[in-house]
Amino acid sequence: MRKFLLILPALFLLSGALRAAGNPPTFTLGWSVYVGWDPYQYMAKSGLLKKWADKYGVAIKVQRFDYAPSLDAFVAKNIDACAMTNMEALDMPAAAGVDTTSIIVGDYSNGNDAVLVRHNLTLGQIPGKRVLLVEKTVSQYLFERAMTINNLSGELKRVKYVNTSDSDIAGAFLSDTSQDVVVTWKPLVSQILKGKGITKIFDSSKIPGEILDLMVVRTEVLNRPDGSGQRFAKAIAGAWYELTAQMAKPGPEGDKVLSSIAEVSGDTLASYKEQLATTHLFYTAPSALEMTKSEQLKKTMELVRQFCFSHGLLGDKTSSPDDVAIRFPDGSVQGKKDRVRLRFDASYMELAAGGKL
């Protein structure tokens, strides 16, 4: 009896060692519910991601978060890749010293983010009034761009922002009719527009290409000496472009894929398509590459980094926006060359475009 008991733990340890030896390296990808990122969940559930992961000899776990916690997890290095906007990629991980690389430029908001008002207010009438939004996010960026484009940037000081959490902003704006202005994103925008007397006076389609949705990976993960990080990135890119190709198919074939994606994130096909309509998704790798390598991207990031710096989002130690530098695919750097923290990497998209994945 005693001998048998001794053998048990030995077997256990042995099997653990065997398991470890035979295990592929595991990576975690975080996502939150948003039209441009829901495909990741479908990828995981349908086995598409596993197919690509197996091809490259890695294991990929996909984990759902609320948006802000997903950013926290990425900054804390608890997850290896995360879906986020260009602005957050700059002011969260990059500004916190976590070197981050964008491997996929998925889409840009083409009307998903909007400024809504009561009583048909114009932008010029807003200063002095209260604006409900989630402060220091894309919404505030959108609003300030709206004002700047209309030569009202001098009036921004008179605007009173009311920081309202996204989970309550729709309800709050709809029920308190004394509030005149709200800035938020779909599907909350669609919900709010159902109320009486509310109109949209500005949206992200007026600043196309400025609010980008990215899939970012920690640079140190990509740079792992055994190359597993790069394989991880390739797997993601491969799965992503295969799925977007399916999504792009017209008619019932495409719809079938879209409705599966919608279902898996708890949405209906109609509502998902409505959100897609105001999202410029880069269905093909070449279209994504075009944006990634363009001058427009540099102009966008210049606007974004100035916004972040002027609102203190880049951290207290930074004395200028150059302290959190951005590197582009052509090697050019916005900011101090020795302080690059955010990189746009086109190589995986190029591999996808060339069919080499």
Binding site: V75, M92, G97, K157, N163, G171, A172, S175, D176
Partner: protein, 285 residues
């Protein structure tokens, strides 16, 4: 070893040292990990160093919030003016105002509990409802509160009141019932009427216990206050924390949290002292 036994008798110095042990351990571990993180990544924002926190706190105390209008030249302002314009001061004032208003509104809750306990008809009408209402999680009522009160100060104060009032009412009710009936009968035999008995005998007796009850519910009040500020606000301590969280400003968040703890401690201490001074006859403090 008699250290671990019930009749162990540590000396006063030992007790003092031991009571600071966990603080010391916590602070030392934090500093250790923070230093390690900073060696690896000098820009780390998740665990700021003491210096960073100190500097952030100094900034919060002396400089206005980044989005506020800066009136006048900062270099020419006196210390007092700087503090009054500072982020910390304004946030504290905003939160403090809401706190005090809600505390004042809790007073009628005490009176309701008192009347429920003394007058059977009042008790019959209110008791069942208050017991039910006590079980409703106030945060889940938020949409209804927004519709009824908007998203301004009133809604935040009402959130606190709705969340904490039932507890205070029931506490006050139970304390009222706990007054020995001999005292009430005595009051009658000495010629007192209903209201004299309610206010001059019962209320006076339960008041120190009610103050204690309110003091114990301070944490609840702060919880609801913070929830309200984090959901929709323009200013306040919790508002600032919510905002800072968005870009991991832990160097300011941690000092803020400690500041709030200090304030709560002071309020608690103040209430305890007040209770002792006003009611020297109350021995259970």
């Amino acid at each position: 070893m008699s250290i671990l036994q019930i009749h162990a008798q540590p000396s006063r110095t030992t007790v003092w040292i031991l009571s600071w042990l966990l603080f010391a351990t916590g602070i030392v571990s934090y500093l250790w990990v923070s230093r390690a993180r900073h060696l690896e990544n000098p820009d780390d924002r998740v665990m700021p160093t003491l210096y960073q926190m100190g500097r952030a706190f100094a900034d919060a105390t002396l400089k206005p919030a980044e989005d506020d209008e800066v009136t006048g030249d900062p270099n020419q302002q006196s210390l007092a003016t700087k503090i009054r314009n500072s982020m910390l001061w304004k946030d504290t004032m905003a939160t403090g105002r809401r706190f005090l208003i809600s505390m004042a509104l809790l007073f009628p809750a005490v009176l309701l509990g008192l009347h429920m306990g003394m007058f059977p008809y009042v008790g019959s009408v209110f008791l069942r409802f208050v017991l039910f209402f006590d079980k409703i999680v106030a945060l889940s009522l938020l949409p209804i509160l927004f519709i009824a009160f908007g998203i301004d100060e009133l809604a935040k104060v009402m959130l606190i009141v709705v969340g904490v009032a039932p507890t205070i009412i029931l506490d006050s009710f139970n304390l009222t019932r706990g007054v020995p009936k001999e005292q009430i009968v005595k009051g009658f035999t000495l010629g007192a009427g209903d209201f004299a008995i309610t206010y001059r005998i019962v209320f006076k007796q339960i008041w120190p216990r009610v103050l204690n009850s309110i003091r114990l519910n301070l944490k609840s009040v702060m919880l609801f206050l913070f929830a309200g500020e984090m959901i929709a606000s323009q200013d306040g301590l919790a508002y600032r924390i919510a905002l800072l969280r968005r870009h991991m400003g832990m160097d300011t968040i941690i000092p803020y949290v400690l500041w709030v703890a200090l304030l709560l401690f002071l309020v608690d201490f103040g209430m305890r002292t007040l209770n002792r001074k006003l009611h020297p006859w109350f021995q259970e403090a």
